[in-house]
Symmetry: D2
Subunit: 369 residues, 4 copies
């Protein structure tokens, strides 16, 4: 038997059996790409609803090492019986599998179903059945009293983040946590690649529509990642001793723009500078938040990242500017939406949950040019 | 003789002789592309410093109808003696030709030398000799008491706008003029194509660096178009009868991001909603400002433009959203940086100055996909 | 009444009424873009099957000057009653409208239904009902005794060419006609943009699949444009006086490769050098074939075209190399698949058929960069 | 001391010290990216002529794990004293370092200086000093009596291949070796990304020139990879027992086309079918040549590769079609020019030379989409 349970995960000879649903899509494919190089897992089962019965390699022709796998149907029965199950399904679908996977050591949902703590926010931005929140898979995120990583240790149910949401949250949480920026008037605009929208047959995702063009969508406050960011930023603020609600007012103007690159998010996020703070205090907030982190790095002053720097990597690169004339801190963050934004975050969280070295199977180096 | 002076410009049989400097670059090439289809001009002279003596077609292989032209050196003597002179030179160079062109009916500078009214702003953002401001070539821009067009009628010296600057100014001026947004906390992020940076041999403009990547630059308040926007927005506000200085405080957080498309600007500009104004009042500000304009169009509610919609066209398309949760108006504008952002604006301004129909030689229709 | 019949087409005040079917697609959109700037036509009717009832501008947001048009259903009744009808429909559909359009002065089919003269070739490469061949819309193509243009004068039924087919035929026909190359072992490989495949919802046309990738298709002799090329090259050879069949053996290895550009075809076509011909004779074949042509131009020796040089233009640019080591002539041709490859060819042919100046509404200058 | 010599390379605890010259360029960067994940080497020295003294990370911002390295000058003294030296320099420069590196266990030249066996071919296509040929770094290439791999075992001087050359050679060598195709009339056309041209400041490599365009270069038999292909194909043919010269006549029409993707080569290579061979015999030639190879894979009948399938991977994917109408075999090959085309080939060859497992540090899986 090559499976293992979490308690013996540090025994090196153990290998975890894994099932990946949504394996014919972009997020599922990236989970598979990363797991294929992970020394501690065996990809045993891949599932996809409409393509069941076909070879995986027809849908993921870049995954040569997995050419032996055949897509099965996505059913609770087929997903059951694995140590780890990854769900890479459209939101609203993951929930129906959860109950049937009770014996899995670890379930990681790359969809949105288990991200939000607020049923109201779910109803407003998604609709349909609300599901309980799971441990949120952004380990480096500052939360009151520590890091989000703490909540992932030993977790058995993990919600991988929204790619845009985690990018913006990582960009601003240090400043919000330190009180050096005002979260009540955040403005963020993101240049994003179309792979974030999945392998969906929509006219606006056709190559002829995207090539040579920049295309805004979800303008004006309707994007589903907005409440996810607000939740993460609120969690960054420590409650006062008195127990009074100290959650700051948080408002986010959020505009994503599709640009002609397959992968990548370049988020430009700004927030007003809090009164009276110095440049040094501002910069220190980010430096201290990410000191020692491998996968979230603040660039030296005056340097800003490009998405090319992080393609294929589990790295979020941040550049910080302080614009006194505009009275705003500007954080530019580059993330590969499919890696640090989704699949890499999922595997990193898996590693933490299982007690494996956090970077196992992941790389900080991008593929460029 | 096929030349004409401004006073007889409405005589149909007249043809204006034109010289274009910087003819081997991107802005110069676009001026030539448009003028080649303009019925009232004859392109007589094209100049370029380092490529003088070579056929124009070697540097602009798409301009087949101008294959007979040879690049000459850019000197005052060679530019002199034309009815109209276009200067498409790096900033700091145009000024030296101005004096020598005193007899030209019309000089249009596509560079920055004659855009700013403030010597201080010039010193801060550009440096070098300050030159007097010329009539600013954005006809549709609301200014106190009318439109910028009024200042172009009969003008003999015109400053074509900065491409990013005019895009943002057109986006927000209606709201600032109407008092429905607060210009003191503007945030704008622009996805821009590399042609805006010119045909410069810089590593960061190489295809391998741009393809598949989003690249921020001039982050944190250093971009040279910032004072140009501030100037335009200030001009949109009517002085009070008392003569008191009513210029509002204007602050702009401005971040451009190079994305992998040769041309185009997609500017996402936001400003706080002024207290107490209704959605209808907000929308009416933009609708009334651009009612009847061919080349600046506000899309219906809920629609937003793509840069693909305006490539090759002299059109600025705007989409407007009102985000009450974030308390911000969001305007997304799409412009072809080389046309409405530069060469089209220059020719449109030329038409106005000479009394020709404003749209002569220009098109509202883009080339898509 | 603003319509006109062909016999009075040279009366300047006449305007032809036009209907365009398939108006929501890429070919239909490009026909509309060109006709919108054509002084002698009025676009009266636009049709599209599945989108009938919607504003055209929703599907062609770049065609601002046509914002007043509404898509109607594609029926014979709606298309009837116009002077000119353009059919931009999938192959197999055009035929059903032909009979009902008997009173139209001119019908131009941008589809394949009326291109092939051989029912066998139609059956092998397309299948379904065979339709009679119409006048083939590539005016500059050398045919025995003249140019294809001759057959378009006064034509009332015109088949616009396949974009890849006309590009390759124009590349090689001069050499085949002059006997300086051997058409029995042609090899052509084409880099093509996805707009040639239409606005079809297929996974392999999604932006995420095309961006950053080169994708071959129809490899090994299955592409439908192969018999169209063979037909055009056969037509270039003059029959002998004896009346014997002198049609040369023609064989074409044809491989198209989708690359990440919205428009454009760059065809590299090679054929063996005929025994005993000199370099000068080879070059003279192409030079004489296209001497005086505006829209098909042979570049000077040592120069080769890029697709960027012809985007938006009705121009085919050819570069010719003679590789004695490989014993092959190499012709590289750049064409905008939607203009000279489809819509421009259609309008150019329309102009010829109606007796209008051939270049009316068309441009030789591309939009670059 | 953490270095090791070749004789003890199989002792797991040994680590080879490595120097990489040309470390600020694209090929050098890719060598570093791969070596950074290689368990048996330590990157000790990185050099670059003009950027000496600067942090590597400024020029390779995606190589986060190497942020501690500083570029040194490229001199024999600095390169000396390492177990392994990689030279990623422009051709003509590598030779001058060779003598000074006599004590290095292994020198691998990613440039062209040591690829060609023929001084005449060198003079014709490159010029300048001719250098002796080294073991050619394409392990899977069929050569008379075996594979090129055999010549790399224990090699101390290795010439990494030209990216286009190895792609075409791998495409056709099996058929030439088996005698099922005629190498005297090969035609190959390649869609290539600009990274193959290096980080050179040339106008034709600017993003504005490449985006949205396909650009041919070196048309007509002048490309430097032509003799390299001819040499590899000649080596695939077994000499007869009599010792007579059985080298077939080899002629190659070779046309590369720059397309807008940062990396990747899609080579479409065709050769006439030899008389009398069956389809099964043709296919068997390729199947048997690459049976058991991890990094060169023939796709099933009817399938063809995209460059997207191999980005970041050391994999060459081949698709084979037999076009009886054109009497040609068509092989479409996809390769990442920087990996299997250059740096991956170099590291794979290094592994073989040192007796390490051949795939160490390399992956068969691409990064897609």
């Amino acid at each position: 038997m090559n499976s293992a349970t979490t308690q013996d995960s540090k025994v090196e000879s153990m290998t975890y059996s894994v099932a990946v649903s949504g394996a014919s899509g972009y997020a599922g494919g990236e989970i598979l790409r990363i797991l294929a190089a992970h020394p501690d897992v065996e990809i045993r089962t891949v599932t996809a609803h409409s393509n069941a019965g076909q070879p995986l390699i027809l849908h993921q022709p870049h995954l040569r090492s997995l050419a032996h796998l055949t897509l099965q149907d996505t059913t609770p029965e087929i997903l059951a019986g694995h140590d780890i199950v990854f769900l890479a399904l459209p939101h609203g679908q993951s929930g129906q599998y959860t109950d049937a996977l009770g014996d899995a050591a670890l379930v990681i949902d790359a969809g949105a179903d288990h991200r939000l703590e607020s049923a109201d926010a779910w109803a407003q931005f998604y609709g349909g059945d609300f599901h309980e929140p799971w441990a949120y898979g952004v380990p480096e995120l500052p939360v009151a009293g520590g890091k989000q990583r703490d909540q992932l240790v030993g977790a058995t149910r993990i919600a991988a983040p929204g790619c845009n949401a985690s990018t913006v949250s990582l960009s601003l949480a240090p400043g919000v946590a330190a009180g050096v920026v005002d979260p009540s008037d955040i403005v963020t605009v993101l240049a994003v690649g179309p792979s974030g929208a999945g392998k969906s047959l929509k006219t606006n995702l056709l190559a002829s529509e995207i090539l040579g063009s920049a295309n805004p969508y979800a303008v004006g406050g309707t994007h589903r990642h907005i409440p996810e960011i607000a939740q993460a930023l609120a969690a960054a603020v420590a409650p006062t001793e008195s127990g009074a609600d100290t959650t700051p007012a948080i408002a986010i103007s959020f505009t994503p723009v599709l640009v002609p690159m397959a992968r990548g998010i370049l988020a430009t996020s700004t927030a007003p500078i809090a009164p009276g703070v110095s440049d040094a205090e501002i910069r220190a907030a980010w430096e201290s938040a990410y000191a020692g982190e491998s996968f979230v790095q603040l660039l030296p002053e005056g340097q800003f990242p490009r998405t090319a720097d992080v393609i294929g990597a589990n790295t979020a690169l941040l550049g910080l500017a302080i614009d006194r004339a505009a009275n705003r801190v500007v954080v530019v963050a580059a993330v590969d939406n499919l890696v640090k934004g989704t699949a890499g975050a999922a595997v990193q969280s898996m590693n933490i949950a299982l007690g494996l070295p956090e970077g196992t199977g992941l790389t900080v180096n991008g593929v460029a040019p």
